[in-house]
């Protein structure tokens, strides 16, 4: 049986320092954990004091020897590690810490029925021994500092205490600042302000998500405002969650550490509130970044508003007015050498031309007039400076959606015509074969038609078959136009999503201190019987997982074989914008929490800090 001993690396320098002494290693061992060495002391100090459980002497080393001698005849293996500094929130974790609350959105795609066999296998009695020794060891390791402090408190004679004057002065000054009356006034004022803002944000969010007219699904601007409102609602909750556990870094826990039960203090670990900490500061940082980004781009756009509006006027005028008009006219005159039905094509092209002219006069023309464009750009850039780049971008997306509204109507009209034509064709084809669609039983049944029914049906079928290419050409043209506008909208919305939900904080933590975002552990072999325990940071691809999922969902809606089938059948694309971006909302709770529930918790908490 192998016994593992955890050996902190900072004790190696202490070992060199005391090299000319007989040393003993003192370890702590709680119920169902392994031994973790707390300290190395010279043996003469231990002769006066006896150690009681859970502390014990695990090994001895005489002066001049190279290796430690451990007690009984078992085989020992030392695992060396650097002690995680809980004050800066470093800790070990066996699984990657969850950066987002992906439980609500992503797991619905996993089909539970596929894994029933696997679950049955896992529940076999052979696999029922749950050996979580390593987990308990790691929890013990994470609280190493607290254990060390309580050990020092209990056995004073083994250590020399050094008085840190500057630290004591710092704490005295901090205590004095806290108890001033100015701080009381400021804190009550802040609490009232926060509560009122949250109330406003909550009402805005519920208005935008009203069940009957879901404004969030229609407009990107509404979605952006809704996101900000929900973030504001969630801020106090996150702040409370983080600061309730803030005491862990500053004072030793109140639980008696010499008790044998190691499961009592699991809740003190930072693992629980750490994702909220990361999310909170990430949101704050992203909002500030957003505003600065908006300021930069806004000022650029404001300065060059004239040139930009001139170019835009020409480009949009061409693509939304002249180009559809030209192609529609050409479609009625045998495009690409394909001879279409002349009367029908003429009728369609006159219809669409009329609508293009009407929309041009009514809204497209005035909207892209140079002066109006200039004015619009100026207003948008100023708004972007105040509210952030995402706000400005969402206004632009909505403006673009209104501009291309006539293309949307064309697509719907032509798709409806095409779809009806296909359905009638199918039904008449069944009539030609002598069958009929039975709606009650949802199947094709044999039917006895009279002769004139058959004749008329067949004639209509032939007419519709020959008219199909004409309708198809118009439908394809307008569908491609609509796809292009959708692509532009998706592109802009992806930029907004990037600005809103970039995992900036996690990336910077990964650069600065990888031990603060643990994503597993690594054990390397250093020599015979020696292992090295290191924390493995979260992989960068993991941090971007919500985006990858979002891209896959978008691909599924807009670019997959399902889309081709929809196009072929003439069905429209319907997207529920809220559901699509739900995955990015995963850092927030699914419904905003009402401030009234915890309002009374906020004010005493801030007052309690002094």
């Amino acid at each position: 049986m192998v016994v593992y001993i955890f050996w902190p690396k900072h004790l190696k320098s202490k070992e060199l320092h005391l090299n000319d002494d007989n040393m003993c290693a003192i370890s702590i061992c709680l119920q169902s954990t392994d031994h973790i060495v707390l300290d190395i002391v010279p043996r003469r100090l231990l002769e006066k004091e006896a150690l009681s459980a859970p502390y014990s002497i695990i090994g001895t080393k005489n002066s001049g020897e190279a290796n430690w001698k451990f007690g009984e005849a078992n085989d020992y293996c030392t695992i060396e590690f650097y002690v995680p500094n809980l004050k800066v929130l470093q800790f070990f974790s066996l699984e990657p810490i969850p950066l987002t609350q992906l439980g609500n959105a992503a797991n619905t795609t996993v089909k539970k029925a596929d894994y029933k066999n696997f679950e049955k296998l896992c529940n076999h009695p052979r696999y029922q021994s749950h050996d979580d020794r390593l987990r308990r060891n790691l929890s013990l390791l994470n609280l190493f500092d607290s254990h060390h402090e309580s050990f020092v408190k209990r056995y004073h004679s083994l250590h020399i205490k050094s008085v840190n004057v500057s630290a004591r002065l710092g704490t005295m000054m901090r205590k004095k600042c806290r108890s001033s009356s100015l701080r009381n006034i400021v804190s009550t004022f802040t609490v009232h302000l926060v509560v009122n803002m949250v109330k406003v944000a909550y009402s805005v969010s519920s208005f935008l998500n009203w069940r009957y007219t879901q404004l969030v699904n229609i407009s990107v601007l509404a979605q952006q405002i809704d996101l900000r409102a929900q973030q504001i609602c969630y801020f106090p909750v996150q702040y409370l969650l983080i600061n309730e556990h803030h005491s862990i870094g500053k004072t030793p826990p109140k639980i008696e550490f010499s008790s044998e039960d190691s499961s009592q203090w699991k809740e003190e670990l930072p693992c629980k509130y750490y994702p909220d900490y990361i999310r909170f500061y990430n949101t704050v940082w992203l909002i500030l970044n957003d505003i600065s980004f908006g300021m930069i781009v806004g000022s650029l756009v404001y300065d060059h508003a004239d040139q930009i509006s001139m170019h835009l006027h020409r480009a949009i005028g061409f693509s939304l007015y002249h180009f559809p008009k030209a192609i529609t006219i050409s479609l009625s005159n045998n495009p690409l050498g394909i001879k279409l039905n002349h009367e029908l094509a003429k009728f369609f092209s006159e219809l669409f031309l009329w609508v293009i002219e009407f929309s041009n006069v009514l809204f497209v023309g005035p909207m892209i007039e140079i002066n109006n464009l200039k004015c619009f750009l100026r207003v948008v850039s100023q708004l972007g400076c105040v509210f952030g780049g995402t706000f400005a971008l969402s206004i632009i997306v909505d403006y673009f959606a209104i501009l291309t509204f006539h293309i949307y109507t064309f697509h719907r009209i032509s798709s409806k015509l095409y779809h009806w034509q296909l359905v009638i064709l199918l039904s008449l084809f069944h009539l030609f074969r002598g069958k009929k669609n039975n709606i009650l039983r949802n199947r094709i049944d044999h039917n006895y038609f009279k002769l004139d029914q058959l004749l008329l049906g067949t004639i209509f079928f032939i007419i519709l078959v020959f008219l199909l290419p004409t309708v198809l050409m118009f439908y394809l043209f307008f569908t491609t136009l609509r796809m292009v506008t959708i692509d532009v909208e998706i592109f802009l919305e992806s930029i907004i999503a990037l600005l809103n939900h970039f995992p900036l904080f996690a990336l910077l933590l990964r650069l600065k201190d990888p031990k603060r975002i643990p994503g597993g552990i690594t054990m390397n072999e250093l020599g015979p019987g020696r292992l090295d325990l290191k924390s493995k940071p979260i992989k960068i691809s993991e941090m971007f997982k919500p985006f990858v999922l979002l891209m896959e969902q978008m691909k599924d809606i807009y670019f997959s074989s399902k889309t081709s089938r929809q196009i072929f059948l003439g069905l429209p694309f319907v997207t529920h914008r809220r559901k699509l971006y739900q995955i990015l909302y995963s850092s927030l709770p699914s419904t905003p929490i009402d401030i009234r529930t915890f309002r009374n918790k906020l004010s005493p908490h801030i007052k309690k800090k002094d």
Partner: protein, 182 residues
């Protein structure tokens, strides 16, 4: 103190591998490494390809494209970098079994021109599966490239939708791993 065995696998496999097994004297740590034979040869070939590619890149740039000194240096560096990312050392996979603690899989696929210890330190991808997540180590049969049946070793992990595959080996490794883990 440690047992080292080298086993050559079936001659039918196109790429031959040899297995190195190290075990601690007390049975606590078992480390199994899959080393491709001709490892050094393959590496030398990849290194040669990288060097040749860079030199041809330098010549074509000097002849056809006019760039400033820093521009040339930059483009040579980019070519070298890209080539060394494509032509790498052959993968070496190591399975470490710690008694009662878990299983660790480590894949090293470093760059061709760096020494082995450097690669092992900087380019290793490790994955540690703790003992309470491991359900079992199994041997499965599967179809590869249409109709060929191979045996592969895999770890069943609780709360996961995929098998963690280990290297394709024979039953000898399987029995050693189970004895070491339990």
């Amino acid at each position: 103190m440690s047992i080292i065995e080298s086993i050559s696998l079936e001659p039918l496999m196109r790429q031959r591998y040899s297995l190195e097994i190290h075990q601690n004297s007390n049975g606590g740590i078992l480390r199994i490494t899959m080393v491709p034979t001709w490892n050094t040869n393959k590496n030398a070939m990849n290194l040669l390809i990288v060097a040749l590619g860079t030199i041809t890149g330098i010549f074509t740039l000097a002849r056809y494209v006019q760039l400033s000194n820093t521009g040339q240096l930059f483009s040579i560096a980019t070519i070298f970098f890209l080539l060394s990312l494509i032509f790498r050392r052959p993968t070496m996979e190591t399975l470490t079994v710690l008694a009662n603690y878990g299983v660790q899989i480590r894949k090293v696929r470093g760059l061709a021109f760096l020494p082995r210890s450097f690669n092992r330190h900087w380019f290793a991808e490790t994955e540690f599966i703790p003992r309470d997540q491991v359900v079992d180590v199994v041997i499965n049969e599967g179809f590869v490239r249409g109709f060929q049946v191979i045996f592969y070793l895999a770890v069943l992990v609780k709360e996961s939708t995929k098998l963690r595959l280990l290297f394709a080996v024979c039953k000898h490794v399987f029995s050693l791993t189970t004895r070491a883990l339990y």
